[in-house]
Symmetry: C3
Subunit: 174 residues, 3 copies
């Protein structure tokens, strides 16, 4: 069974001040992409580095999610610490994800460079930070997701099959 962790990082969503639309946008985008059966494990956490770290570790080590996607906490505001939490729990970093997402967002807004989002590997799992705004989530996932199924293949994870009319993953021929 394919398990994917989704972490909405937001003090206000955590406190119930507003509904988390970003985590839901990730779930809905992944439902559009994937034809493989998958199960979401969905968490809302405050902008606290130690809590974000704890939840990523739990989703990877205990729940065996092959992919963990975060939303929020990647900007320059004082409470934004999602990239720091991600880096702290990853064994190895994947700088290409952040570079591509910023380059894509830069086509829309010059403030894309303020996004500090990154990606990395913990054991056999891929962790990707997405921005907090629902609109930017789809843009960013459309940009990086074509590489995700092969990344998980390379870590001997489950095979993610996509609806190729919507999302065409790339797997190089051996």
């Amino acid at each position: 069974m394919i398990k994917i962790g989704i972490i909405a990082v937001s003090d206000r969503a955590y406190a119930g001040v507003y509904e988390d639309l970003s985590g839901k946008a990730i779930v809905s985008t992944l439902n559009d992409y994937l034809i493989s059966e998958w199960k979401e494990i969905y968490k809302i956490v405050p902008d606290e580095q130690d809590i974000i770290e704890k939840i990523i570790i739990e989703l990877v080590d205990k729940d065996k999610c092959c992919l963990v996607v975060t939303t929020g906490g990647t900007g320059p505001a004082k409470r934004d610490v999602t990239p720091e939490a991600t880096e702290a729990v990853c064994d190895r970093m994947m700088p290409g994800f952040g570079e591509l997402m910023r380059a894509e967002s830069l086509k829309f807004v010059p403030t894309a460079i303020l996004s500090r989002q990154t990606a990395g590997l913990r054991g056999r799992s891929l962790i990707i930070n997405l921005p907090g705004k629902p609109k930017s989530i789809r843009e960013c996932l459309d940009a990086v997701f074509p590489a995700v199924p092969y990344c998980i293949d390379l870590m001997d994870g489950p095979c993610l099959e996509c609806n190729e009319a919507v999302m065409k993953p790339f797997r190089p021929k051996k």
Copy 2:
């Protein structure tokens, strides 16, 4: 009162072997951009990591500069340590600035990839490394500055108003 720190990092300018034109180019560019009243705090330091760190800390913690811009010391020469000093004193890094500045400079020279410049946050201040050559300073500031006022807004800093005929900052609508 908006305070901006400008640090020219250069052994030779520090020793008085030549005049610092790069720091002056930053002041003059910021004067072109900004219509808000602002005060420069301008330092010339040698290529010594501990001195660069000390001056950045002083400009941020004591002088309360919302923005500190360095020039010089970002290449591969033995004495070039400005990015290391910057990273050492920042709480959180902003990789998008270096990525965009290198991508911009790459349109002019293939040696743009030799520039190791970065940016980061210390408390509520943004620190940006610029290259040492006066000509490249304007190119780089033109590329990244549209995102700077909003970055400082997000850290609850002062509102930087620009002469929009010259520099059009981007502030997303809430």
Copy 3:
């Protein structure tokens, strides 16, 4: 005498399961580029971080290679640790190399973002990670090599002269 270290990082090539074509592709590409006389020091090592580190250190500190180029071990597979070994032995990092190589490879395959390759400096030597696939090696070297001779100039290394019909290095006029 110009010495260049070439490290093929591959468990299987090291075990003799297959021939190392990637290291050979680097040698052949550098022979195409360079008209300066140069000597290769060519090693095949397994995907073990401490061994890769040891060999880089030896090539730089003992053999005085001005340039060390690795191939392999830059992806997300469990055994891929070449970037970690590189970062561990470098004094200062050169993020622009990885950024440009990924941007170039991205023109061909969306999985380019899975490459974690980096570059850095140890003393007066430049260390560059290249991907493992022979075809991608030429693409990546074509992209970054125009900046390499000037990088080595800036570190007071030997002057690399190129066959400009094939590789046109860029050296800014003083």
